[in-house]
């Protein structure tokens, strides 16, 4: 049932919410990550997301399907790649469930696990240069 996708296209969150809005789901919990104008005290101009697409979709599917079974819910996760401007959504995790606690817990579990396990990387492009973000670290980009 889970639907996952890594895509260059814009995310249409309202459309994703409709996919889990069956009439037996009383609760929908959505998490949207979007591009901030600053990070680690540095001004950000835009982001570039890089993904190992086939593996990212495989891991996303495992995360979503495990959570669907564990919390009894329906899950859609879309993540963007490529260049993202300020304010654009980079990720949407949408969970529909008969019960609200399950919806919150599954949604939070999915986004937390995604950040740790899904092979996607962010490059922050700032006025003073650009930086690969790896976990909590920002590595300035070196000319190769």
């Amino acid at each position: 049932m889970a639907e996952v996708k890594v895509t260059e296209g814009l995310l249409d969150v309202a459309e994703l919410e409709k996919r889990v809005a069956s009439s037996s789901n009383g609760a929908i919990c959505t998490f949207i990550g979007q591009v901030r104008n600053n990070a680690r005290g540095r001004e950000v101009a835009y982001l570039e997301y890089q993904a190992y697409v086939p593996m990212a979709e495989k891991v996303l599917r495992q995360i979503a399907e495990n959570a669907e079974v564990r919390w009894g819910c329906e899950i859609v996760i879309h993540h963007r790649t490529g260049r993202l401007e300020l304010g654009e959504a980079s990720v949407a995790v949408v969970v529909g469930s008969p019960h609200r606690v399950a919806a919150f817990e599954a949604c939070r579990h999915c986004i937390d696990t995604l950040k740790e396990q899904v092979p996607i990387w962010k490059r922050e492009v700032c006025p003073d240069g650009s930086y690969w973000i790896e976990g909590e670290e920002a590595l300035p980009i070196e000319a190769s």
Binding site: Y52, L114, Q117, V118, P119, G135, E142, A143
Partner: protein, 81 residues
Amino acid sequence: MQIHLLCFGHLTDYFGAEPRLMEMPDGATVQDLVEELERLEPRASQLAKRCRFALNEEYTSLQALLTPGCTVAALPPMSGG
């Protein structure tokens, strides 16, 4: 045998973002490939400590055996979301 190497994040600064063909001896492991990469690029000496590795799109251990035509990906700490 030949295997395919994929790099991501800051590693693309050293090894490029395109898949790269590597020649490895029969019986080589992921660990052997990592050591070869560390030799090729001293700035990547922390590779084994910093990265996880995938073999044919599944997380793998350093002890896993390479097979002809397999794809190994070097995955630095991730930052999706």
